[in-house]
Amino acid sequence: MKKIEVITRPYKLDEVKEALTTAGIKGMTVSEVKGFGRQRGHTEVYRGAEYQVDFVPKVKIELVVEDALAAEIIKTIQNAARTGEVGDGKIFVSHIEDVVRIRTGETGNAAV
């Protein structure tokens, strides 16, 4: 199994969620996060004093999928979240040892 972590623009969340549910994904975890990449942040000015705001708001979407589906899902996410401008975000993929469904005790692919 693979864990896919997507960090992207907040306003892209709905599009990514739609694309993933259409692709058959049944669950995901979303958090509001802040950070910066090459895009860096923006400048705010209050009464002539400039402040550099490095941490910009992003959303993080986490989901776990079967190995066989991973490549297709990553492509789906990329298509939904891409604008072509700096700040589109990143997708991190990692290997997952096991998954346990708390209610039933199922493990592995059956629990995803």
């Binding site: 705010e44 000015v45 209050y46 009464r47 002539g48 004093a49 400039e50 402040y51 705001v53």
Partner: protein
């Protein structure tokens, strides 16, 4: 007595009262979220405490019979003899109407100072300081200018409080910023306003209330009140635009905070001149006030004091410019009780205005330093660094502004 005048002044008093909660929002929006209630409370508690101090002793020190040009006597102690009959010299109004109108000025002036020490003052120390300040700084200043004191005798013109309200609070604010020192993390962390819509609402209330402040200072529902109302509005409008344009050029974007700060700067600058100048000079005073006060707020970075919400930059420089501009643009065609300024053939007036500026700054700064020292010894004046980090809302009042 005149019923129209009385009704007008009572409504003006109510308008000026509304400025203090307006100021609470103006300042409250500019601090960090953890200090919003502490900052709002500074203004609100003054509305309570100073009103009482004023009734007991402030009014008589300001408007009691003159003692050596310096202070009023005790004739009106506890509002003794202040009733529904007119005050000598203001025969169109019940004495109480005049007193309560003046009370609202005494309330908002120390509230203005709170912008300088926002986010780091101890509540007990602040309360004691405020009470002493009204007695030892505001009341003498008020007496000097409006109560028949030495500045009035000199012929200094201050229609609605350039010296009494704005320079006095700003000079004291400067003393407070220096005495208390910088907020912890100042210059290293960003100190950004947490809710600018609150600040904009507060500024709008100030603008609205200022009509009572300035037009009401005519002390009658007459042409002079109409003139002061108009100059007040036009100066505010011009200054808001002036600040916006200067900031646009300097930093590349017109900001909301800049626009409303400019409006307040214009209101401050026109205050001493409101009842002595015509409308076009008022627009000039406002336009320049926008630029001058924009520069004024940058001074704190240059000199390294932490005037949290720019009381010195806006009320200090705005009030000073307004007082001097009164010496330039005043004309007797607006107000026979005033005088002509430099541009109307009387250069001496500018010199008198200059003396009033220097006297006000020096007296208020020095007296405030002394009061701060006294308060520091009695109650302490600055919160512990732990309380400062927690924020004034929790550390001073055990509540928070937002449960999100």
């Amino acid at each position: 007595m005149n019923a129209a005048d009385t009704g007008f002044i009572l409504i003006c008093a109510a308008l000026v009262m509304f400025m203090t909660p307006g100021l609470a929002l103006f300042y409250g929006g500019m601090v960090r979220a953890k200090n919003v209630l502490g900052t709002v409370m500074h203004s609100m508690v003054i509305l309570g405490v100073v009103s009482i101090v004023w009734a007991v002793i402030g009014y008589t020190l300001s408007f009691g019979s003159d003692i050596g040009g310096l202070i009023g006597g005790m004739d009106f102690f506890g509002l003794n003899g202040v009733g529904v009959e007119p005050k000598a010299g203001v025969d169109n109004l019940p004495h109480l109407a005049f007193m309560i109108f003046q009370c609202m000025f005494a309330v908002i002036t120390p509230a203005l100072i709170t912008g300088a020490f926002a986010e780091r003052i101890k509540f007990t120390g602040f309360l004691l300081f405020t009470i002493l300040w009204v007695i030892f700084v505001y009341s003498p200043m008020c007496h000097w200018v409006w109560g028949g004191g030495w500045l009035a005798g000199l012929g200094a013109l201050d229609f609605a409080g350039g010296a009494v309200v704005h320079m006095s609070s700003a000079a004291s604010a400067l003393a407070c910023a220096i005495y208390l020192g910088k907020r912890s993390g100042y210059g290293k962390q960003p100190f950004m306003p947490h809710n600018l819509p609150l600040t904009v609402l507060g500024a709008a209330i100030l603008w609205f209330g200022w009509f009572g402040f300035n037009a009401g200072s005519a002390l009658a529902a007459n042409g002079l009140a109409a003139s002061a109302f108009t100059t007040t509005h036009m100066a505010a409008a011009a200054a808001a635009i002036g600040w916006m344009v200067v900031e646009w050029i300097h930093r590349g974007k017109p900001t909301t905070l800049g626009f409303v700060s400019g409006a307040v700067a214009g209101l401050v600058a026109i205050t001493p001149a409101a009842g002595f100048v015509t409308v076009m000079p008022a627009i000039v005073i406002g336009l320049l006030a926008g630029g001058i006060c924009y520069g004024g707020v940058l001074l704190k970075h240059l000199f390294g004091y932490d005037d949290s919400l720019d009381v010195v930059g806006i009320h200090g420089l705005g009030g000073t410019w307004g007082a001097l501009a009164t010496g330039l643009f005043a004309t007797k065609t607006v107000n026979e009780l005033g005088n002509n300024g430099l541009f109307f053939g009387n250069p001496g007036q500018l010199w008198i205005q200059f003396i009033s500026v220097v006297a006000t700054w020096a007296f208020c700064f020095v007296m405030t330093m002394i009061l701060l020292k006294v308060v520091d010894v009695v109650t302490g004046i600055r919160v512990s660094s732990e309380d400062e980090n927690k924020g004034l809302d929790v550390s001073q009042h055990s509540e928070v502004g937002y449960q999100l």
